[in-house]
Amino acid sequence: MTRKRRRLILLGGGMTGLAAATAMVLTAFSGNLVFFYGPSELLAKGIGPGRLVRIGGLVEQHSVAHLDGGREVRFRVTDGKTDLPVVYDGVLPDLFREGQGVVAEGKLNGSGVFVASSVLAKHDEKYMPPDVAAALKKAGRWQEGGKPPP
């Protein structure tokens, strides 16, 4: 009985210590564990031109413009507070459209435009049939890229 109890305390104590250590490490490195920065974070961190970073946010409504015969595309990525102009020359994922979440990898150029070398689509956690989406839109309960309807 006492040996079992001792093993239990040892295991519990070890796991508590390990959990605490892991929590501290993850908190300390949380800046490196994010996959992308929002436009506000990018500005707040003072990440200047020339550094390879990933930015993420929603494609701002009415901001997508195709240039140069359709391959080069310009759009603005917004997090609701700040928005950032992005230029990209390449193949866009199928889900790319205005209001859609995107993650772009690239660098800021001298004039504050983000030159993307790759653009990935980020889809949200909502799943529904097309007719339900259409009905929600019709009823005006639709927020593109926003929080799910209550």
Partner: protein, 258 residues
Amino acid sequence: MISRLANPAQFMRVSGAVLPFLAGLAAVVLAVGLVWALVLAPPDYQQGESVRIMFIHVPAAWMALSVYLLMAVASAVALVWRHPLADVAAQAAAPIGAAFTFVCLATGSLWGRPMWGTWWVWDARLTSVLVLFFLYLGYIALVNAFDDASRGARAGALLAVVGVINLPIIKFSVDWWNTLHQPASVFRLGGPTIYISMLLPLLAMALGFALLFAALWLVRMRTALNERKLRALRLHRMAEPRSRPADAAPPGARPAVH
């Protein structure tokens, strides 16, 4: 109840009786779930038909996590209370959990290519699930790395318990950090964000996966126990060749001297 079942002989009897029903139920639920998910469920408003990968991917991911949790709990019981069945349970679960994790990673990759535009990214969710896969493989390797099976079981159990730290990281990675992977759709505050006509087939598939796991797990545990019994019998014979009855001795063998 648990401690009564923890007796291997009792376990063999009960599991042998339960197994056919469990396997049959798993087959029926999986068949219904697959037709429901792949044929009857509606397409998604933005992902179209590709959303059907979810009905495999998400239950596989849930099983990858729950099987690991089960393995870790069994390992903790083995370490602390030295229950005779706990190590068997943990070791029998590991390859099945690894297979679910592989299915989760593979279907996620196949889904990511058309939807996100990439097979793989090193975001927190994807990376932590890959770590889970390696934990499973490391556990299997460690258990089998010792000549003395009980030492291997002890080392593996410790690894399984320590690795449990990874489970909350996987679950909450999408909330704690920016990831390409979207946040949880089902187990979240405020209820699921999957429409009911897609949620129900998803839950059916999850139940089917769970039943499939339970059936495979019992088969593997029973096999391991039979194997152990065989080995013990063989050792017993090798250790006491003279206790064999004389008529069972090979022809020409010298009669036992008393």
